[in-house]
């Protein structure tokens, strides 16, 4: 499965009953043998009788009740880090075991290192395009990390299980929560560590139920 596999595209094939019958049931691909076409029809009939299922991975809700965010099920996010534009760590939170426990000093070193590496990765771009972006997805044997840099230079890092789809959705949602509960907080000093109860609460409410 590619890293930026789009789950929305897959769920699109469940359409209205009429369209389904016209396009798939009756015409059917020519190269299918009668046996496999019968089996296909049987599967579709069963699906119609039991109600349309959402086709997203591991989601067994009938289509009307399946909300957009419900698609992100069985997701394991290990940690979320936020770096300010100078490479300082302003937020770190573990959600699931999977990464090693580090001291706060180690996290600071890690954030600083990553900030430098991010700058260099945009330098060594072999293509001619201007405005090269830095590192976006980092993969290792045991985790995948998605980095999102805002226009102002703040970086959001989300660590998750390998082959986790939709991490870009997750990281953008974390950004939304950050803008709502951190940037709109009148007591927050910019570029300083985030100590906002509302942000933490909403972040864990977003990440926890999808596991």
């Amino acid at each position: 499965m590619p890293a930026d596999w789009d789950i929305w595209a897959v769920s699109d094939w469940v359409t209205k009953p009429g369209e389904w019958r016209n396009e798939v049931m009756e015409e059917g691909p020519e190269e299918l043998s009668t046996g496999s076409r019968k089996r296909e029809r049987k599967k579709r009939r069963q699906a119609r009788e039991t109600g349309f299922k959402c086709s997203a991975l591991l989601c067994s809700e009938p289509r009307p009740r399946c909300c957009r965010w419900y698609h992100i099920v069985a997701m394991v996010v290990y940690a979320v880090l936020i770096l300010n534009k100078a490479g300082g760590l302003i937020f770190q939170r573990d959600f699931n075991p999977g990464l090693q426990k580090l001291t706060s000093n180690d996290y600071l070193i890690l954030a600083g290192t990553f900030h430098g590496v991010h700058a260099i990765t945009s330098q060594i771009s072999p293509t001619n395009e201007t405005g090269a972006s830095g590192l976006e997805v980092l993969e290792s044997e045991n985790f995948v990390m998605r980095c999102f840099q805002t226009l102002t230079g703040t970086k959001f890092l989300v660590f998750a299980e390998p082959r986790q789809p939709n991490l870009d959705v997750v990281v953008r949602r974390v950004y939304e929560l950050y803008s709502d509960y951190v940037m709109k907080n009148p007591f927050y000093q910019i570029e300083m560590p985030i100590r906002s109860e509302g942000f933490e609460r909403h972040l864990s409410a977003y990440i926890k139920p999808h596991q």
Partner: protein, 170 residues
């Protein structure tokens, strides 16, 4: 799939082989496409190949190799710190390119830069190590044990092998 460049770093953190395939889309009037610049050939005529950056590239290849090494070294340490010593860094992707990494037990590091749609190339890099590096460099009786400045890696068989192998990567 487009392969932009390929690097080998030895255990002394030195780039012992580097090779760049110029992208057909970049205008390159000065350099013929069929003649790649390697570290070894650059060492023999230092002025022309190393100091003049290839068309369209901001950095010379030697500088780029140093930066690539810095990046993979830091990321590798970062991954080992986060996930324990048995985890290994595989690849990263930016908006423009993807970097694949493979490290042998002897700390020989193979790095390949490709376009972003390529799947993970760890097995391909492992094949380069087993089928090309070991066959043509390690088993070559004339090749030294260490390869300062790329000495011994720049033999014809290895280069031809790399070239044909890269063309077969899907």
């Amino acid at each position: 799939m487009v392969v932009f460049s390929f690097f080998i770093f030895d255990r002394h953190c030195e780039c012992i082989y580097l090779r760049q395939w110029l992208d057909a889309t970049t205008p390159s009037p000065a350099q013929p496409l069929s003649r790649p610049v390697t570290a070894s050939s650059a060492a023999t005529n230092t002025t022309s190949a190393v100091e003049k950056p290839p068309a369209g590239n901001k950095l010379s290849m030697a500088e780029q190799a140093k930066l690539v090494f810095g990046v993979i070294f830091s990321l590798r340490n970062m991954v080992k710190k986060l996930c324990g010593p048995d985890d290994s860094f595989l690849c990263y992707r930016t908006g423009q390119y993807k970097l694949h990494y493979y490290e042998t037990i002897t700390s020989l590091r193979f790095v390949m830069l490709t376009d972003i749609r390529t799947e993970n190339l760890k097995s391909s890099l492992h094949q380069i190590y087993v089928n090309l590096y070991v066959e043509y460099v390690v088993k070559n009786p004339l090749s030294p044990v260490e390869h300062p400045g790329g000495e011994g890696v720049n033999n014809e068989m290895f280069e031809l092998g790399i070239d044909s192998f890269v063309r077969t990567i899907p």
